[in-house]
Symmetry: C2
Subunit: 172 residues, 2 copies
DNA sequence: CATCAATTGTTGTCGTCAACAACAATCTTT
DNA sequence: AAAGATTGTTGTTGACGACAACAATTGATG
């Protein structure tokens, strides 16, 4: 079904793709600066997507020296604030799947930041704890994360950041 | 390197994993409702991530009947507002990679919503246009997207949504 | 007490998405 | 004409969300 227009470049010269070569494009090679988005402006999802992309990239860049990604940071933060939590509890709290949390904890355990202690009350579950190494590491991560948060404030404004946090508080 | 703690469940009984079974966990099986996030609250990235997840799921659900995802919608909207754009221009404008746009356009072209017209001025590039079918379809998509936007307003408040759009306007 | 449903961690697959790296065709510059 | 940049394309990699199974264990029901 899709094997028609798609091969226009590689099989260049098949002539079948050259139908209707009307001089349509007025601004075909526009630099991408002055393109109207029309209805796209006014869509919260679009703005949020772009912002989330920017903010994650800055987070990753700011914490590149310690090689910690946003999700890993959130996991360690929750465990640090609530030692002994089960994987299910952490996953539910952070809105990630427990299947995904398994790999996250695997890597964090390999780096000896967290440890899965067999629960004394429920032999199915693990009590999650930060190791001593993990605690000191998290302290450094938090300093870097605070720096990243300052980047956000610089980008959108200190007051706007506060308002943003307040507006989205119902999602945390 | 990772083959130590990881096999604690499947190879249950290896006894190596049962070290330090101190009754650590106070709230090991908490329901996940009253877990403090500590430093996580106050991080813009976390709130934005959760919100973006919610908003995309609602968009997909609201436009499920027409089977259009947020990125597809943004592509069609930009093309509809700026006919004749090249793939490079669209990608740059939407902040997506041109490699990714290829597949997006493939599917949209298969459904006969957009068409890649060979550019008259630059034989490398394609001038992107909505088909007649694509135009009427986009009109319906916009109605559904407006309904989705109302869901957002219901979720975070009409005024908050307005403020949010204003704060993040620099990213659109 | 025996049995069955629910929970927990784990493994696996699938599809989306961002980020790169190549490549052929084509344009631009020199 | 030659060198370099651009455009569309293909491919790979890794993070991520969603879903479906499975063994071990717990809890509830009979």
């Amino acid at each position: 079904m899709a094997g028609q227009q798609k091969t226009s470049r590689k099989a260049a010269g098949t002539a079948a793709a050259i139908r209707r070569a009307r001089s349509h494009g007025a601004n075909g090679g526009a630099a991408g600066d002055d393109i109207g988005l029309d209805a796209l402006v006014g869509h919260a999802g679009y703005a949020v997507r772009r912002f989330q992309l920017w903010i994650f990239q800055d987070f990753i860049k700011t914490l590149a020296t310690v090689d910690i990604r946003p999700t890993q940071y959130s996991v360690m933060t929750v465990i640090g604030a609530n030692p002994g939590l089960s994987q299910m509890a952490v996953a539910k709290r952070l809105g990630i799947e427990r299947a995904r949390l398994v790999h996250l904890l695997d890597s964090l355990e390999d780096r000896e930041f967290v440890s899965r202690v067999p629960s004394a009350t429920d032999r199915r579950s693990h009590a999650l704890h930060l190791t001593a190494r993990g605690k000191t590491a998290l302290a450094q991560f938090k300093r870097l994360a605070a720096e990243h948060e300052r980047h956000v404030a610089e980008k959108i404004g200190k007051e706007n950041r506060k308002q943003l946090l307040q507006i989205l508080a119902c999602f945390t």
